[in-house]
Amino acid sequence: MVDSQMVLNGQTFAYTCYAIVIILLMAWFGYQITRKGKGKTVSHKFFYTFVVFLTVLGVSLHIVTYNTIPWAPMDLNRADITADKVFDITVQNHEFQLPSEKLLINVGDKALFDVTSNDLTYGFGLFRSDNSMLFQMQVVPGHRNDILWLFDKPGVYTIRSTEYSGPKGAQMILKDVVVVSER
């Protein structure tokens, strides 16, 4: 199954290729405009083709990601999906209060993290042991902040706040508290 690491690898590859191409293109352009030209204008057909290309690119990006990134449709439709596990978490005074010492999840489970802030705006993210991010969301006081996630492989994750909430917020970290294991 497509996971966040795979999506990030794909994005890294796609953007790196694009960056190299556009840098080379600009270098080529910079060289060519100092060369003798015939004073011709760029054809209007080329211009309008470019406009169509940009339009298709802008719209298709979201259609492609919606249909390939599994959490995108799940996130928008989460109210209609039954979670296998629900964790009610509270945040107050720069501290996460978990329902239990460890949040235990079985592989294949859809887990719902329902996080409530009683004071400030925080963030809530799960991170792998190599510090890479599994997912995150904002935690806004006075509103429901819930995220549904399908865990398809075993792992141990750290919770940390992903939003600035003053200097104290930088160390809102609960190490290795989410444990996903085979049934």
Partner: protein
């Protein structure tokens, strides 16, 4: 000339501050202050780059976050606003071939931005007020972490800058519409309608024979439309400042408004709507207009596809009012329909409008081959490349799926924010500085072309490199607005720090080059009153 002579009197003694008109002095004041604040922002940036490699013992974490708060504001308001406002207060009357409506008001804009920036910077430096530029409620009301007195100074500083911005907007629109003394009565309403795009819009519904000509040039239209966003943004920020002041005054009087009164999500929507009038509004519109102006000045030719370019500026203005939700894609309570339409779909329009501006500028340059690779041309190409890299990076993060793993990471501030501002925007502004330099200095000569070349390459490589390494760290999970104590991302942060060092060297080379070009006496002379009693932009004999 000896080194000491050049340092005091400028390259070949060509720059004479006594020959400057009040208008030229006004522009140069903006440039000097803009560059000083840019230097300050670079130094702050370098402190933070070092801190991300190894926290500096002499700087406690609350001071670090105060620097983090002041850094973008000093860069955007203190530096960019100064440079942009100074340039446009000159360019608009220059293109309309009439004097600025009020030089006095222009000087007030200069003073308010310069003083306002200093005040909010001091609020961070002295009182460690550190809400970050987002000012999210209820953060400013969290007085366990922040002193309300510091917050008051901070808000006052921001308010002074916004007042200066309002004065700038008044001056721009008045200059477009007014009738100078001794002139035939100008059609004020029609000029404003052309500048805003209203008459162009009406043309869409008229038969071709009845279509009206554009009364103002395309760059002036760009400045006017960007100024609409400047005005709206000033209103939003001023209101927000007052709101925060209410919380502070309430706290000082013993009332705790912390968890009442204002809905946190509504405030977020409100704030980001206002902030995007800068980030996705005036910046993109001003930049596109500046590219067009530079392309026409460099080539001496008309702009390619002028009417499309004009229409795209209007589309960009409207788009800038409707894209704010891409900042709230990770807010689960934000309605899904807003995320999709405003956050994803409308935001994707920026790829089209900015792509059009990119293409039109390149096509205009292409039609004038062969061109000499002057400083203004190479910096313009650098600016174009910066946005070509940064805009797609932004479109990627404005996606519901990708935002889930990119939001608040270094990806946002690296390849998107810093590449857009440092490479895209700043290199465009440097291009303007290089092209206007002989005009506003009455023919002063640049001290060293070698330094200008070094400035270009060091800035380009440093800016792209720093953004790239920050982005790589972000893709591996490194967050923004936090401190890592155990060197988790040290490799990327060291490389980003080296690139940041290049940016610092680039700036020092540029600053030294400019000071040596006009001389220390010249720099001081810029701030003394002009001896010429004229509203002319440049001396009649120059």
């Amino acid at each position: 000339m000896s080194f000491a002579d050049t340092f005091m009197n400028g390259e070949k003694g060509l720059f004479k501050s006594s020959s400057l008109t009040p208008m030229q002095k006004l522009v140069l004041r903006f440039v000097v202050i803009g560059l000083i604040y840019y230097g300050l922002a670079v130094i702050e940036g370098m402190i933070m780059r070092i801190y991300q490699i190894e926290p500096i013992a002499a700087i406690p974490d609350f001071q670090y976050f105060a620097i983090l708060t002041a850094h973008p504001l000093v860069g955007i308001f203190g530096s960019t606003y100064s440079l942009v406002f100074g340039a446009f207060l000159f360019v608009v009357p220059y293109l309309m071939k009439k004097p600025l409506w009020s030089i006095k008001l222009g000087n007030w804009t200069f003073l308010l931005i310069a003083i306002g920036t200093l005040v909010f910077w001091l609020a961070g430096f002295i009182t460690h007020y550190a809400p970050l530029y987002t000012l999210y409620w209820p953060l400013p009301a969290d007085f366990t972490q922040f002193d309300p007195l510091g917050g008051t100074f901070f808000v006052v500083g921001i308010a002074l800058v916004m007042l200066g911005s309002v004065f700038f907007v008044i001056n721009i629109f008045k200059t477009i519409a007014y009738t100078p003394e001794g002139w035939e009565k100008q059609p004020s309403g029609a000029l404003l309608a052309s500048a805003i795009g209203y008459s162009g819009l009406r043309n869409l519904f008229r038969r071709s024979k009845k279509q009206k000509e554009h009364l103002v040039s395309l760059p002036v239209a760009a400045v006017a439309r960007g100024s609409v966003d400047v005005a709206l943004n000033a209103g939003i920020i001023l209101f927000t400042g007052v709101l925060i002041l209410v919380y502070m005054v309430g706290h000082l009087m013993g009332f705790n408004l912390k968890e009442t009164t204002v809905d946190a999500l509504l405030y977020k929507n409100w704030f980001w709507w206002g902030l995007d009038l800068i980030a996705d509004g005036l910046v993109l519109i001003f930049v596109a207009g500046t590219w067009y102006l530079l392309a026409m000045m460099i080539t001496g030719k008309k702009l390619y596809m002028q009417n499309i370019a004009r229409a795209a500026l209007l589309v960009e203005l409207i788009v800038s009012w409707t894209v704010w939700s891409h900042h709230l894609l990770s807010d689960q309570a934000q309605p899904g329909i807003l995320k999709i339409i405003s956050g994803e779909m409308v935001t994707a329009f920026e790829l089209i409008t900015q792509g059009l501006a990119f293409f039109i500028t390149l096509a205009t340059l292409w039609s004038a081959r062969p061109l000499k690779m002057t400083n203004e041309l190479k910096f313009l190409l650098g600016g174009l490349l910066g946005f070509a890299l940064a805009v797609p990076a932004g479109i990627m993060q404005a996606d519901i799926g990708l935002n889930r793993i990119l939001h608040n990471t270094q990806w946002i501030v690296g390849p998107h924010v810093h590449v857009a501002i440092l490479v895209g925007l700043t290199m465009t502004l440097y291009s303007v500085v290089y092209i206007l330099f002989p005009i506003v200095t009455n023919g002063a000569k640049l001290y060293s072309q070698k330094l200008a070349n070094f400035h270009f390459w060091a800035h380009l490589i440093g800016g792209i490199g720093m953004g790239a390494f920050m982005g790589m760290a972000g893709l591996e999970g490194m967050l923004r607005r936090t401190i890592y104590l155990n060197g988790e991302f040290n490799l990327y942060m060291i490389l980003a720090g080296i690139c940041g060092g290049l940016l610092l060297l680039a700036f020092l080379a540029f600053f030294y080059n400019i000071v040596m070009s006009v001389g220390l006496k010249g720099v001081i002379g810029i701030f003394t009153p002009s001896k010429l009693n004229t509203k002319d932009l440049v001396p009649q004999t120059a």
